[in-house]
Amino acid sequence: MTRTVPSLLMAVALGLAPRPAAAQFTSGNITLTLFQVMEDGVVTRTSDTDLGKALNGIQCDNAANVMLNFTTNNVPSAILFLDLWVGTPSEDCSVTESRTPGDRRICSHLPQDPVIDATDGSFSVSLADLIAGSTACDTGGSEVSLFLWALATGESETTGDITTAQYGFVQFAVDPTPPAAPVPNETASSGDTAISITWPAVGEIDVTYRAYVDTASGSCEATTLVAGAPAPVDVTGIISRRTGSDARSISLNGASLGLTDRQSAAVAITAVDANDNESPISQIVCITRVPTAGFCDVYAADTGESCPQGCSVSPPGTSPSPLPLLVPFALIALGLSRRRSRR
């Protein structure tokens, strides 16, 4: 999904992270805070950074097994369960008519009324229940912001008027759409210690890229990587996965990949957006390890004399020392300061 800068700013402003209530709604006394996301019984998001991300396509596909855990504060003491509703940022579910059965109802009622944990005031709700009344998880759509409203009325589907002491809400977002697959600039690349693959940016911003390298097949034709297919989930064994930054190139060392001379491997690139949606894999780039000759190798072949090795400006593998360039500048500074100090 392509996001413009303003829309991204809005997404950040309206994201999933627990934050103050939206200005257009009257705040209720009850505070809701998302503190944990569990998938298949395993906690997958707990940090503020992760909880600030929108729920992604993978979680949508597994919605029945994705549980969102919330804490509550200021729930009236006699209340044992909550009546949950979901609305868009323009739908105020504290207003009676928003919940009144009929054509004018604009908020969605969740089928389950979660019980509040007596010890810590927490409750859980599945993603499947949260999105039951919306199209938020439909692939192809853009990121959707929703509000979860919790009503503490003792009713399972509150239709009457409520007071500010009886409700609270929290915002969350759903982004089911992965970025487009990157399109590598090369179909084949060769080299020895720095086999380069480059690609232009996919349309979405705030994207990182992953490279999947299949070295076990021994050739590019026999690879298990298939262009357009979902990214491999199991990256152990024959597939090695390398996660890059937002750079749009990767440099692979043939020796480090275990390639012998003239041996090939298949490489595929995927793009991953800020909400961990991963694109399908790109077209396959066939890399081949071949020995290369640099300036010193050609010089040695031409002249019969080898380049010096090791007696250098700085230790091998580090940048040359800036000392030769810094000394003149130090002289200038010193000279000027001495001159001015005599005035």
Binding site: T193, F295, C307, P316
Partner: protein
């Protein structure tokens, strides 16, 4: 093979640059002490000349290696030179000791290797292999004669300079992810320069520069120079550069 420690060389140059201006000051010469008194009577003493230059530099390796990998890449070479003034020869010019440090980087593509291990190049850098880079850091210590009699005695703003000294070129060659050669090579360094002093463009501004910053003169120059650095690897060149200079 000559192997002076580069740090020692730099320290010696630093000491020269710090001590020699004191000696010059002890002599008490300045651009006003013997020049057209009506034109420059308020000039402060001169101790140092600084030059910032840029120009093409293509190492003459004595082989096709450079052109095969880097094609027509000619740098540029950017360098800074500081000359400490030792003494003035009346009606001739200034004798000084100069220290210069430069930087040039070249980018190209590596060659492939045939079955017998020999390089196979497409020529003129048009290879399909990995990225190749060559970094040169030349450091030179030179004796400098600046003939400024025309400017000082007759008001003709041209200065002619000659330079001769030792050149040390530090280098590193990188191919793909490996460093395939690095080190330093030595040789002689020479240079012939013609400079145009800019003071005549605005004498008042030139005077203000001197009073506020101690800059006696500013000038632009063109320099033909060369290096025979080839003690361990031939990386010298004969080329030209232009730039801006200032006398403090």
């Amino acid at each position: 093979m000559i192997k002076p420690a580069p740090i020692l060389l730099l320290c010696a140059s630093l000491a020269f640059a710090l001590v020699l201006p004191e000696a010059a000051r002890a002599q008490g010469f300045s651009s006003s002490s013997w020049s057209h008194s009506s034109r420059q009577e308020h000039r402060s003493m001169e101790h140092t000349t600084m030059e910032l230059r840029i120009g093409s530099y293509t190492p003459d390796t004595g082989s096709s290696a450079f052109s095969q990998i880097f094609g027509g890449d000619s740098g540029p070479m950017i360098a800074l030179e500081i000359d400490a003034h030792l003494f003035r020869i009346p009606h001739v010019g200034i004798v000084g000791l100069g220290l210069s440090a430069g930087f040039a980087r070249y980018r190209g593509r590596s060659c492939t290797v045939a079955g017998d291990g020999s390089p196979v190049c497409g020529g003129s850098g048009a290879n399909g292999g990995e990225k190749a880079k060559l970094l040169l850091l030349p450091v030179s210590t030179m004796a400098v004669l600046r003939v400024d009699a025309l400017a000082r005695d007759f008001g003709i703003p041209f200065i002619f300079s000659g330079k001769l000294g030792l050149d040390t070129i530090f280098f590193r060659s990188r191919t793909g992810g490996r460093v395939d050669g690095e080190g330093k090579t030595f040789g002689l360094r020479w240079g012939l320069q013609v400079a145009l002093e800019l003071d005549f463009l605005d004498m008042r501004a030139a005077r203000a520069l001197d009073e506020d910053w101690g800059i006696n003169h500013s000038f632009i120059f063109f320099e033909l120079y060369g290096s025979t650095a080839n003690s361990t690897m031939a990386l010298g060149d004969r080329t030209f550069a232009g730039g801006l200079g200032m006398t403090f």
